[in-house]
């Protein structure tokens, strides 16, 4: 790899922040060879570059063998192949202006495939660097309005990044309180503090208005601060301020009153007159004190104006951004304080995790309108994003291994537009995750260690999943390093990617695995277990049929729970499965806790089943193999027999040994072939399969597929499976039926079918997430706790059972 040494370009080399950086540039400007469409936002000190790239990555595909006419005995049910799939990724890189020339050179050298002729540019520096960019990149600079880029970018991150906005609470642990995404992000107020202040009211995607502003902003802090303290750099001024005592420069209420001005509720410590003491006292003032006083003066002033505008326009969501904020704890604190003071706590100051990128994102989106990026949902790629708080290393003692100078954000295009599950009782208060690890230090410590310990196992399965690829070992090692580094970062900065949860830890791992082309490390295990379990399906059904109704219901539930034990994501289980190959369905049943379970509303469930059948059940399934085949399908069968329609929702992409949508299609088809109830269900469209839109072992009900895109935008999976059925000359028309139904997304199907029961199965979906989720229909959450620490937290032992049947409160 060519090394990029940018240090030579730097003039300010004496400063600690400007230490030389020697970086493998492919770690920064990733995938440049496949980049198309650029945008750049050049601010007073930082440049933000954005580009879109097509990412080829390996995807595990399953493909059914043609079994028509014969019962295969030894052949596996389906074959697995790894295919290249092309998806889209957005890259955003932030660096100091001083590196601009070096970076442009690097980009030029690596730009091979682009047909792009134009680069969208915004920000104050776009004009200044116009010629340089045009000369270096041979692209025409097309300037876009700064404010509209900013707003566009802001809408984009608020919509697509779940924990984008946060409240800053100094001295609290954690200091960052992330806000859950509101279903409707509008209207809001954006206060952008650059050299001046702009206050913008945003009412919809296309409608915004600059309702005011102020000339007292970041430039005032910097300019006036430089004059007063002879300190040249903005960051240094902030540092100076964070050490100072404003009360020695400001005239406080108590300096005038001797105490508080109680009848107005003004406490003695309030500033009555900024710099008032320097007007009346003839003495030297310390630089730090003056800087602090200036910081307070400006923050309070901006906060006050923001509140006045918020009040006038009746808005209570106020986001702050601009270089004055840029993640600086000291400015976030003073702004927060000011907003609290002036609104008496009624309005919270909100900050954005990716605030620095808004302009670049917006400029990029403007240039990409023909690709309709707003039509898609995008998700942050944890593997390629550097997370919060990496730009001011000196204010943060924790040094990243990479220089703090380059900061990255990557967003991957998700297959489909995602929306709230229509059955959520209150989407605005829904929080998927049960425990926020940024707040719960003990749980954080446990889970971080737990993921660290499980890493070796994941690595060996990743290698085993690609026996034919010689570089698998090397890539697995790289994956391990990357994930370990992420865990280390999260240990020190738990808030780096928003709220830290078991879900985000799992997702980060999946992202890192994908990064190193391990699309489905469990594919072989899943295949083997599916094959194995199918052999027992008939027997299980037979034995269930021999039971009376009451016994059968219990046995079904027990079977489902026993099936859920087979979870490779749980270390306790994977250890057993590795060492004891004979551990099967019956053994799992014996492991289960006896009733009464840890959470046990089984009696209520049975009472309900004695009543009229449900209209339609939405079933979020979990693992492959025994779980889906011997646990889930018998219950599905029972529901169908009762006259309940069933929607089986499975992951769109692989995660651990969870059954994926394409695997489930094959399994359903196979089971239908040997079971008349399932077959009839499929034929009559009483049993349908949908994608959950997720590739995570957890489930966020705020993000489920609304509708699939037009055919051209159908996900690779669906198109591919359709094609291979055709080429295999498959006779079974029902399978086609399933595909066609699928063009409607989960949300649409749920609405159309009047779903009145939601079943959520497994630790990831029913315990780590959604444990407290309130739905507006009946719900059944069940799982086996396969982790002794977690069981302990719930007051139980390992293999405790959670059976939580709930009816919505009327």
């Amino acid at each position: 790899t060519r090394q990029m040494a940018a240090s030579g370009q730097m003039k300010r080399s004496s400063h600690s922040m400007d230490k030389s950086i020697i970086l493998p540039p492919d770690e920064i400007f990733r995938n440049l060879e496949n980049a198309k469409r650029f945008a750049i936002d050049i601010g007073g000190s930082l440049t933000k570059l954005a580009y879109y790239s097509t990412v080829q990555h390996k995807v595990a595909k399953v493909r059914s063998f043609d079994h028509t006419g014969k019962e295969a005995v030894d052949e596996p049910l389906y074959e697995i192949s790894v295919q290249e799939e092309v998806t889209a990724r957005l890259h955003f890189i932030k660096f100091e202006n001083a590196y601009i020339e070096t970076c442009l050179d690097f980009i030029k050298d690596h730009l091979v495939n682009t047909e792009t002729k134009v680069i969208k540019a915004t920000g104050g520096g776009a004009y200044k660097f116009k010629d340089l960019i045009e000369k270096k990149l041979q692209l025409k600079v097309d300037k876009e309005d700064e404010m509209s880029c900013l707003i566009k970018g802001c809408n984009f991150v608020l919509k697509n990044i779940p924990h984008e906005a946060f409240v800053y609470v100094k001295h609290a642990d954690p200091e960052f309180r992330f806000q859950t995404t509101q279903p409707d992000i509008f209207p809001y107020l954006l206060v952008n503090i650059g050299s001046g202040v702009s206050i913008v009211k945003v009412e919809s995607e296309d409608k915004f208005e600059r309702i005011g502003g102020s000339s007292i902003g970041g430039g005032t802090f910097w300019g006036l601060g430089a004059l007063l303290t002879n300190t040249k750099r903005f960051d240094e001024l902030l540092q100076l301020a964070s050490r100072g005592q404003h009360a020695s420069v400001d005239m406080l209420v108590k300096d005038i009153y001797g105490g508080g001005y109680s009848c107005l509720g003004l406490t003695g410590d309030l500033i009555a007159s900024s710099f008032g003491k320097s007007a009346t006292e003839d003495r030297e003032f310390s630089k730090a004190d003056m800087a602090k006083s200036l910081l307070h003066m400006i923050s309070n002033d901006i906060g006050q104006l923001a509140c006045l505008y918020a009040k006038l326009h009746n808005l209570n969501r106020v986001y702050f951004g601009g270089f004055f904020i840029r993640g600086h704890p000291v400015t976030m604190h003073t702004i927060t304080y000011s907003i609290n003071f002036f609104t008496k706590g009624e309005v919270q100051a909100l900050f954005l995790r990716h605030e620095g990128y808004l302009g670049a994102i917006g400029a990029f989106l403007k240039g990409a309108e023909e690709d309709n990026p707003n039509q898609y949902s995008w998700g942050e790629n944890y593997a390629g994003s550097s997370g919060l708080m990496s730009v001011s290393p000196e204010l943060y003692p924790m040094q990243r291994t990479r220089s703090g100078t380059f900061d990255m954000l990557e967003m991957d295009r998700l297959d489909r537009q995602l929306v709230n599950l229509p059955l959520l009782l209150d989407p605005s208060s829904y929080i998927p995750d049960t425990v926020d690890l940024t707040e719960d230090a003990m749980a954080r410590e446990y889970w971080l260690s737990c993921f660290e310990e499980a890493l070796d196992g994941v690595v060996s399965r990743a290698v085993a999943s690609q026996p034919d690829l010689t570089d698998a070992k090397e890539r697995a090692e790289k994956f391990s390093q990357k994930y370990q580094h992420k865990l280390k970062t999260l240990r020190q900065q738990p808030f780096a990617y928003g709220s830290l949860t078991v879900r985000s830890l799992l997702d980060t791992r999946e992202h890192c695995l994908n990064e190193f082309n391990f699309p489905d490390p469990y594919s072989k295990i899943k295949q083997r277990e599916n094959d194995w379990a199918l052999k027992f399906f008939h027997k299980v059904v037979k034995s269930l049929e021999s039971l009376n109704w009451e016994e059968r219901q219990f046995s079904l539930v027990k079977g489902l729970l026993a099936g859920n034990v087979f979870d490779w994501g749980a270390k306790a289980v994977s250890d057993i499965l590795v060492t004891d190959p004979d551990f099967g369905f019956e053994e799992a049943k014996q492991q289960l806790q006896e009733r009464p379970w840890l959470i046990d509303t089984y009696n209520k469930w049975i009472e309900r089943l004695k009543g009229p059948p449900h209209k339609c059940a939405l079933f979020f399934v979990d693992n492959s193999g025994i779980d889906i085949i011997l646990g889930v399908f018998p219950l599905v069968r029972e529901l169908l027999c009762r006259g309940t329609e069933v929607i089986l929702a499975s992951n769109s992409g692989p995660a651990l040994n969870d059954v994926t949508y394409s695997e489930l299609q094959i399994l359903t088809e196979r089971i239908a072939a040997m079971d008349s109830v399932i077959q009839s269900g499929v034929q009559k469209e009483q049993l349908i399969l949908v994608q959950s839109g997720s590739s995570s072992p957890c489930l966020d009900l705020r993000y489920v597929p609304e509708q699939n895109m037009q055919i051209s935008n159908l996900s690779g999976h669906v198109c591919y499976v359709l094609l291979c059925y055709l080429s295999a000359g498959h006779k079974n028309k029902n399978v086609f039926f399933i595909k066609i139904r699928l063009d409607k997304g989960l949300a649409t199907v749920v609405r159309e079918r009047h779903t009145d029961l939601v079943i959520i199965e497994g630790m990831g979906r029913a315990i780590h997430t959604n444990f407290y989720a309130a739905l507006c229909c009946e719900s059944l959450k069940l799982a086996v706790i396969k982790n002794s620490w977690l069981a302990d937290r719930f007051g139980g032992k390992i293999f405790s059972v959670v059976f939580k049947y709930e009816q919505p409160c009327k």
């Binding site: 005239m251 001797g258 007159s273």
Partner: protein
Amino acid sequence: MEVNGYYFNDGKAEKEEDAPEKPPEEKELSGGGREDAVAESSGGGVPRERLASHSRTRQRIDSLKKNRPPFPWFGMDIGGTLVKLVYFEPKDITAEEEQEEVENLKSIRRYLTSNVAYGSTGIRDVHLELKDLTLCGRKGNLHFIRFPTQDMSVFLQMGRDKHFSSLHTTLCATGGGAYKFEPDFRTMADLQLHKLDELDCLVRGVLYIDSVKFNGSSECYYFENPTDPDLCQKKPYNLENPYPLLLVNIGSGVSILAVYSKDNYKRVTGTSLGGGTFLGLCCLLTGCSTFEEALEMASHGDSTRVDKLVKDIYGGDYERFGLPGWAVASSFGNMMCKEKRESVGKEDLARATLVTITNNIGSITRMCALNENINRVVFVGNFLRINTLSMRLLAYAMDYWSKGQLKALFLEHEGYFGAVGALLELLNPSQL
């Protein structure tokens, strides 16, 4: 303290003996005329107690009869930077009164009315004097005096040296200093302050002074054609129907009040960026030490060398948002650049400071006016003293940004309304 606060000294006057025997040397404030020195020494020798109790009995009868407090009549407003003092000089003193008038009272009257400067920092604003004013049935002149709050100890010293406490007058004081210095008044000058809320006094003072007019002409004025520098002109304004009114008091800090009637007002908000900030920053940036100096410098400076304007960024107007090119985009924004820092003059910095503070007050005021749905704003406070620059800027800002909807009004007696309100409280206590 009795109902009306007139007799609040009862029982305390007797304790004056603690005062040191020899009056300490005169300092700044009292160092003015010879006359005072004489009065001072004579005052020191009078057997105070006897005289005081005698006059008190007589005055009590007098005041009960006429419902009028004894002289001297003062109102005081002790702010963060300046102490504002109003003094009513009765001109209708009868020969009998003259004869009965105690020496101390006489000497204070002479001292205050025969000087325009007191010590090195006390100043009487002669041009503001209200002549032939009738107050509580007495005719006289109202004098306006100010001195820096820093010199409070000198003032107290003088009060003690002049045996002010022997007069047993009620000293009505407002402003934060009335609270802060209350113990000092008691211990250093043996004076008990009657503390009054500063905003009550401010509102009362404004409404009163406007009602009595300024020696026959209008107290209130505005700037005609504020957006046109050539045609801009000061014009009298008739504030007959004052309500509702936004009252912006710019002292060291700023208070913004919405006044709905004589007795109904609320403090809407305030800002710490006020006169104290202007002077404080000017002192630090230019090395000046007085408000007058700072203003003088500002009048010769050019703030556009210091501030970054919209046109500096966009090359002209920022049309998308209706921002004119001349508007300041970032106050002191040019000072981010080292070369520009080195090329600006002190005058430019003073001017930029003035413009920054003034415009900021203007924009907060405008927002409050919108939120409160009020379209008349009266700006008062000592920041506006001899500060036509700021007044015109405020007039302009109100008019321009509100597209003519808001009117900026000013009052001749700028910073003295709190003190006037305090005096009125002495003469006609509110029924609380």
